[in-house]
Amino acid sequence: MRKYWDLFIVFLKIGSLTFGGGYAMLPIIQREIVEDKGWATDEEIVEYYAIGQCTPGAIAVNTSTFVGYRIAGTFGGIIATIGFVLPAFVIICIIAGVLQNFADLAIVKNAFAGIRVCACVLIINAIIKMWKSSINDFFSLIIFIAAFFITVVFSISPVIPVLVAAGLGLAGGIILRRRNSPYEKIFANRNDTENTDEKTDVLPEEGDQDK
């Protein structure tokens, strides 16, 4: 019960601090989930986030559900999502009710222009933190650069580069595995740490879910 409550409060915070859509959520998630609570690693957050990008719906909602599920099972996923959506729900209802010209107010425009600067810096900072865990060889560097430029130049739906990259990763892995490359070693190391994590964290939660 305690864990659900914690989860709810953390996502309430994340929901109130995510300015400018799903991408701005990452730095807040990093701070709250990875650094403060230690519920997940940077690397896991990137994974949940990547899946949120190529599944239907708002990226921030998808990520909330995913993180919540990994921390506290199905109910955790639902609680996290409600927590994330609630602050915005309240604020939007107030604005729609009494402040319909909200976005035109000079004070709001100025405040938001300032917040946007901060959001930009926060995103850069989040990328720096994520970099080590996700871009660790030549292959991933190329994928990063390609995804960046394709999205910037052609402004296409993010789904396409994400799915193509997953396919390339899969193909690359299958081909390179036969040669016992460093590619494989990265995963070998990673699997070890993953397994120990899951024993301490996830298994008891699954037990709860079955009842």
Partner: protein, 191 residues
């Protein structure tokens, strides 16, 4: 019943809009035409509000549309929001369960090896599009001197925040967001 129709319309939007909040826009403009719940002009206002409030842009728009559409505003907002969010929850829970099972499969690991850098590339691209708005006066392109192209106020604030963030890692992002909002108001950043 209006609540059911709201829920259903936003459910289909949530189900088919892949790739974040702005992907819901085409669905919403289509919804405006079909249902007459709101006009295209209103939709642009709703978008502006959704972008300048916390939370996911698509979810905020669904709350807003639900609120103004009819019936009791709060119930309408609830129906719209629940409709948009429900497909996400269902799909993600299914994907998460499947993934948990195959997590240690090498194939899943390989796919992630490509997925993660692409995901970060997209985040960087989003950062770049915010950066363009923040740091450049794109309307000054080709006019005036080179220095006019840059929004010096924003760049200075950005550099200061970045340095503070690097130096004081313990400070919560919320503090920086609050400070930036105040600086934005005091120095009228929107102009």
């Amino acid at each position: 019943m209006i609540y059911f129709r709201l829920f259903f319309n936003f459910f289909t939007t949530g189900l088919f809009a892949v790739g974040g909040g702005l992907a819901t826009l085409p669905f919403l403009s289509d919804m405006a035409e079909r249902t007459g719940w709101f006009t295209y002009h209103q939709l642009m206002d709703i978008l502006a509000i959704s972008e300048s409030t916390p939370g996911a842009i698509g979810v905020n728009m669904s709350t807003y549309v639900g609120f103004i559409t009819g019936g009791h505003p709060l119930l309408g907002a609830l129906a719209g929001t629940a409709g948009l969010v429900a497909p996400s929850i269902i799909i993600i829970l299914i994907v998460a369960k499947i993934l948990e099972k195959f997590r240690n499969s090498p194939y899943v690991q390989y796919a992630f090896h490509g997925l993660k850098p692409a995901s970060i590339g997209l985040i960087a691209a989003a950062g770049w599009s915010v950066f363009k708005i923040v740091a450049l006066h794109t309307d000054m392109l080709g006019r005036g001197s080179l220095i006019d192209l840059f929004n010096m106020k924003s760049i200075i604030l950005g550099v200061i925040i970045f340095l503070l963030m690097m130096k004081f890692k313990k400070i919560h992002p919320a503090a920086f967001i609050g400070i930036s909002a105040v600086v934005g108001i005091v120095f009228s950043f929107a102009q």
